[in-house]
Structures are given as C-alpha cells and as structure tokens.
Symmetry: C2
C-alpha cells in the first residue's frame, strides 16, 4: 500500500492503525498497535483514542483493542460482501447441502491478482479440514477459485503473477509458469477448474467462475472435497450450476448459455 | 457519535466519510459523500483520494465510490464477525436446514441498546420475506433477538431504551414500556422469546440467547416463520438447542445446563 503516491498524512496513519489487526492478531494492546503500524506510541495512542471514540475500534475488558462493530457495519457495504456475498448465499447453501463439503466464494484482489480473498465459506463439522477462512487469502495460482478467476483476467495480470516465484504448499503444487498457463487454458476451454491437492495433500477443489451483470467474471466458487480417489468430475455439474445461478441472480444476461466457452 | 469528546480532527472526518455509505446508498459520487458527511467538497475530495489510495474505498467504472475490499478484510476481524459469526455458522446452517425458514444472528449495540445489529442471516428463496439483512439494524424491543438480548442487559440499559418512544411497525408491535417489561420477564424465566408479528404482520420470530465463554449473553439467534396459525412453540426446542450449541462452541462452561434460568 505504501507504493501509492496519494496516500499520506493522517488518513494513511489511521489506515495503518486499522491494518495492524490481522486474523492471527485480532486483539491488540496499544503497544502492539504502535509496533505493528510503525507509529510512535504517542501518535498511536491519540489515533486509537479517536478511533475508539468513533467506534471503529472497541476496547475490551482485558484492555486490548479490537475492530469495532460500527466499522464492521460500514465495511459490510463493500460490493464483495453485501452485493455478491448476499446474492450468492442461497446458492452456496444449496451446494453445501447437496455436497456436504466445504463451499467457498472468492474474489481476485484487483491490486494484487496473485491472491484471492475468500468472502464466504460454508463448512461442516465433519468436512475435510481446509486452510481458508472467510476474510483470508491464498495464492490464486494454487487454488481452484484463483485459477478460475485468473483464467478470465487480462494477460498482463497473469504474466505479472507468473513473474514472481510461486509458493509450494505440497508436492502437487504447480509452481512452473507453463504449468499454470496450461491450467488456465484448460479452465477457459472447459468452464471449470480442478485444483488437485495443491494446497493440502488431503483435499482437492473444484471451481467455476461467476459473472456479474455486465459480463466479466467477478468471483469464483468452489467445493473442497477429500482427495480419496473419488473422481473430482462428480462435483463439476453441481458447482457449475451454482455458479450460473449466482451469475443469473447478479443479472448476467447470458448465464443461460455458453458461460463455459470463455468468450468474455 | 458526535457526543463523544475524544472524537475530533482528521480521524473523525475520515470516519465521517466512511459513515456516508449506507445500505440504501452503498455507491456514492464525491458530491454525495461531501453532502452526507457534512464536509467541504475540497476536504471530501482529499480524504476520498487518500482512502482510495489506501484501498479503504474503491472507485468504480461509473465514477462512484464504494467500500473497498481491503477495509472489508480488516473489519471482518470484528469479534461479532470473525469470532461469533464464524463459530455460529454451522449451527445456523443446521437450524436453517431443519426449519427451512430464515435464521438470524444478532448482537446488541453496546452504545445504543435500543437497536440490534444483524451479523448473519440465512434465507431461502421460498422463505417468508423479512426486513432484516446482514449488517442491518432493527429496534431491540420489537424483535425476538432484541428481547432475548435486552432480557439479559442491565436494568439501566433497559430503562434507557424504554425512556424513548417505541416505534410501531404493525398493530401488534408492543410499544408500552410495561408490555416490554413483561416480555423481558417472560424471556428471563423461559429462556426463549416469541415476538409475534411485531415487525411484519405476516411473520413471527422465535429467539434464544447465546452466552460467551465467560458467561454473559453476547448474541441471540432466531428463526422467522410465517404467522399462519402454526404454534410458534414448535420451533422453540430447535432454536434453544442451536443457541446452546453456539454457547458451548464459544466456550461457555454451563451451556450444558440451566441457560434458561437467567442467572447471569
């Protein structure tokens, strides 16, 4: 975020304070916030006080600060959350009920297409364990949702992602640019993606792209199933049908035909 | 929010800009943001530019601004969202699957206990229509979740809520303080709440409180069903069981007994 010229001054410091909170550290003491945001303690103290007064932060009985309910209410208005996620939920629930496996909805980080952000995950207590959580990130090249999204990104974005080293999670993670390009070509041709044990050796995921009302791919959904020898193509029709249902609900006119032909 | 003394300066203005976005206006032109936040256009222009550079806002192809994915990622760390909501989701899904009606999870606004904030809603395409959405608010006195929460609030908070006029939604909305006090007493004694056609004349809701790991009530969940003559008590066991399941998952030690006795 520091590479952007217009970002400076108090606004940037306010966002630095908020950005100090992470999934692994959602509750922070004032000194933690100062250290993580790189701000002097006095500055952090003043900003945290103002953010708490404005209810963007909350101070718990343990003296530590957390993200406030008021900020959550506002941020929930992000298109990925209140538009996409809420439209998709009934379809995610249907898919989850039919498959009884983890179902995920993700979007590409427009500023860094090397990563996908999970906006929803439906899980069951007995489903195969998975790494992703709602609000978390994973590399787009190693996940079925990420490959489904990258398959419809611009060639420039794809090459930007492939120019950097690709992280290996398992012996099955595809880390060679040409291997990823082949997966993307197959995704465009078929309308779905199977990511085989790339994140965890015990599971694979099957994804399909979701199109917005004006045509382009805006999200992808996947089901994560055990890599137990079951043919992953078993899950493809249900995943594609759910993705098309969400596209139609988002107002995509051609969701009734040809969404797998990669014509966008 | 303007009654809090520590809130001033740039931080307050940044929060005013973010607070200009609402569920009914999630995409705003710069002039709308200036008007809604009460800021001069030049100030709004500068802050919006800085917030966009920091990815707290996003500018769409239509030139309008929306809440950015980066702010959503951070705000998703709010305890009501990433802790409570994620822990509750499997139980909400089970209840939703069993009832096939709208299932909701809500928390009391600690700064204004007259309102509840819905942190999740699971709905089906054929369920009875309801007003609430994830991220939206309703009066705590007119909703089953709100009554379940107020029943365990401090007497001061309850009287503060009842000191103000209570909004009427339907002929069945309880707007008299003594009527609300009677509902709260019944909620404490029974461990559940039935709110009968108080928000919409076609539906009623059944709620039970959720307790956190350290004992106090932290949330409430409800199912919203058609007011079609079915005995609402049909739904009570499933709602109470789900609420106890969430309490247990949150670490509440006594969730195995006596959660309906109001001993907190």
């Amino acid at each position: 975020m520091s590479t952007r010229p217009a970002r400076s001054g108090v606004t940037a410091r306010v966002l630095d304070v908020l950005g100090a909170f992470t999934a692994s550290a959602p509750a922070l003491a004032l000194s933690d916030i100062a250290r993580r945001s790189g701000l002097p303690l006095t500055t952090a103290h003043r900003l945290v006080g103002e953010l708490t007064a404005g209810r963007a932060l909350e101070r718990g009985e343990d003296g530590r600060y957390r993200i406030g309910l008021r900020l959550w209410e506002i941020a929930h208005l992000a298109p990925a959350s209140s538009g996409l996620r809420e439209t998709a939920m009934p379809f995610l629930e249907d898919l989850h009920e039919v498959t009884r496996h983890n179902v995920q909805l993700a979007v590409l980080d427009q500023d860094d297409p090397a990563e996908v952000v999970y906006v929803e995950r439906l899980s069951t207590r007995d489903a195969v364990s998975i790494v992703s959580r709602s609000g978390s990130r994973l590399p787009s090249t190693a996940t079925a949702v990420g490959l489904a999204l990258l398959a419809h990104a611009t060639p420039d974005d794809v090459e930007r992602v492939l120019a950097r080293p690709l992280r290996r999670f398992t012996p099955y993670t595809v880390c060679e640019p040409d291997g990823v390009r082949a997966l993307l070509a197959r995704a465009r041709a078929s309308g779905f993606v199977v990511s085989d044990r790339q994140i965890e050796a015990v599971s694979l995921s099957v994804a399909a792209p979701v199109r917005g009302g004006d045509g382009p791919v805006v999200a992808a959904l996947s089901v994560v199933v055990p890599a137990d020898g079951t043919n992953p193509h078993t899950w493809v029709p249900a995943v594609r049908a759910a993705a098309r249902g969400i596209s139609r609900a988002l107002g995509h006119p051609a969701a009734g035909s040809g969404s797998g032909t990669g014509t966008s």
